[in-house]
């Protein structure tokens, strides 16, 4: 337990130390590069804003991610079970995923004008559903036929086979994708928060730091985002341990 906590903490402290050293050795002023020691005052000065904005970023990211889980799993099921759908939809999905999502910000903010929450959630969703859809699709389409046959030979329905075999068997792949998607969703949320005018959330706080030349604030926002990202990542790890812990071969 001590080892589990101590090793990452030590790594983070080393990282902060090196960062501080870099800024100190180059004698960079605050308006060029903030150092870790500048951050606590920045956090303290804007502590209420950080809480409010941080919460906004977090809930919109989580809602976008949940949407990505639902829609991504559905698409994954469609392309996983139907070869026709797989052949038809794959190029479309890959093409959509290849579009830099920043280019879509003006598009969606024009369609849904003023709907800031909605736009942000939509972007978080669009950027994060792809890994989930692909992994669920691959998990289902690569299910060994024997796994199906042990239940099919007994006359089990397709739904029963899905629930008892295909779904649990796909869970490890699903959680692997969810870890990627969780961080992607943050990128989506912040993209909209930073780019759209009069935005809210940590992205908007970053933007205001930039406008005012407040480098410590900007870096403080980045750290806050990193902390939120780590929190969400470990939330996914917790869910994975709960629902797909059997896939972990450690110690056997």
């Amino acid at each position: 337990m001590l080892y589990k906590v101590a090793t990452p903490v030590l790594a983070i402290l080393t990282f902060l130390g090196l960062w501080e050293l870099l800024v100190w050795a180059n004698d960079w002023p605050n308006y060029k590069m903030a150092s870790p020691s500048d951050l606590p005052p920045a956090f303290w000065k804007y502590k209420e804003l950080f809480l409010v904005m941080g919460w906004q970023t977090l809930w919109r990211t989580v809602v976008g991610l949940l949407l990505a889980v639902v829609v991504g799993t559905l698409i994954g099921m469609i392309i996983g079970f139907s070869k026709l759908a797989r052949d038809a939809l794959y190029p479309l999905l890959v093409g959509f995923n290849a579009i830099p999502k920043a280019t879509l910000v003006p598009v969606i903010s024009l369609i849904f004008i003023g709907q800031h929450d909605f736009n942000t959630i939509l972007m978080a969703f669009m950027i994060s559903f792809f890994p989930i859809a692909v992994s669920v699709g691959i998990g289902l389409s690569t299910l060994e036929p024997e796994y199906r046959d042990i239940l099919r030979a007994l006359g089990a329905s397709r739904f029963t086979i899905f629930r008892k075999i295909a779904l649990p068997k796909t869970l490890p792949e699903f959680f692997g994708a969810l870890k990627v998607s969780a961080t992607l969703a943050f990128i989506g949320t912040n993209l909209v928060e930073i780019v759209s005018p009069h935005g809210r959330g940590l992205g908007a706080l970053f933007k205001s730091g930039e406008t005012n030349g407040d480098y410590p604030l900007m870096f403080a926002v980045l750290i806050a985002l990193a902390v939120l990202g780590i929190m969400l990542y470990y939330a996914v790890i917790f869910l994975e341990k709960t629902f797909a812990g059997w896939a972990d071969r450690e110690g056997t």
């Binding site: 046959d149 042990i150 099919r152 006359g155 059997w246």
Partner: protein
């Protein structure tokens, strides 16, 4: 794949099916299990024509296909969840535990499949295939991936299970010794398209031990079967194609 195949297995007996690779033995298991429909002809089980999957069939494959997220006990119970959804959990557990004890897996019921050896997993897979008391058990090379000694252990387990429970068995195998040790009759299929080429009744006591394989009688039977396989492969002399 299969053509002119005429196989009759009397109820309650053990039929071992051997033949060259790719002659359609696995297709035969799918037909019997109702997972595939014959283009022509019919499959009958216990006086009923097979038109689709049925609850009275058990299957085991070369790959034990145990569900990694379930314990050994829950893996064995799985068919009961489909076939007898109303059966009380207590009875299901009791039934599964009886079988696990019979195959020597007592004490392993709460382990995950990944914690067991290949032979133990195959034992669990056999338990799962008969937990719902099927009329017909279809075994598609269940011992094929095991080492020779483990395989012989499993043969004896299979023999004991059969002594304890009545079911008809169709065993697909590549191992002639296995077919003679376990079978009441051995059916040799010819190469593609597969036909019934040869049927041999195994005239050995039901409670046979491994020693029986070293008797002249068994040696004669193995020799006959070997010759039949050679014919099935389209070879007349040793080594020529």
């Amino acid at each position: 794949m299969l053509d002119g195949l005429d196989v009759a297995v009397p109820a309650g007996t053990f039929a071992a099916v051997v033949g060259p690779s790719g002659c359609g033995k696995s297709t035969l298991t799918k037909l019997v299990a109702g997972l595939m429909k014959p283009d022509e002809g019919e499959v009958w089980l216990h006086g009923e024509r097979v038109t689709g999957p049925r609850k009275t069939v058990g299957m085991a494959f070369q790959n034990p296909v145990l569900l990694e997220w379930r314990t050994i006990l829950d893996n064995v119970i799985l068919p009961l969840e489909i076939v007898a959804p109303k059966m009380p959990t207590k009875d299901r557990t009791a039934r599964a535990m009886d079988l696990l004890e019979m195959v020597g897996l007592s004490g392993f019921e709460n382990k995950r499949p990944s914690e067991l050896s290949g032979g133990m997993r195959q034992r669990a897979s056999l338990c799962r295939s008969i937990v719902h008391k099927p009329d017909v058990l279809i075994l598609d090379e269940p011992f094929g991936a095991l080492d020779a000694f483990t395989r012989e252990d499993l043969w004896q387990t299979m023999r004991d299970l059969r002594a304890a429970e009545p079911f008809t068995v169709v065993l697909i195998t590549h191992d002639l010794r296995e077919s003679v040790f376990l079978g009441d009759q051995v059916i040799v299929l010819s190469g593609r398209p597969a036909r019934t080429q040869f049927v041999m009744d195994v005239d050995l006591p039901a409670d046979r031990t491994l020693d029986v394989l070293f008797t002249p009688k068994a040696a004669d039977m193995l020799h006959t079967l070997r010759d039949q396989i050679k014919i099935a492969q389209g070879r007349t002399e040793e080594g020529s194609a």
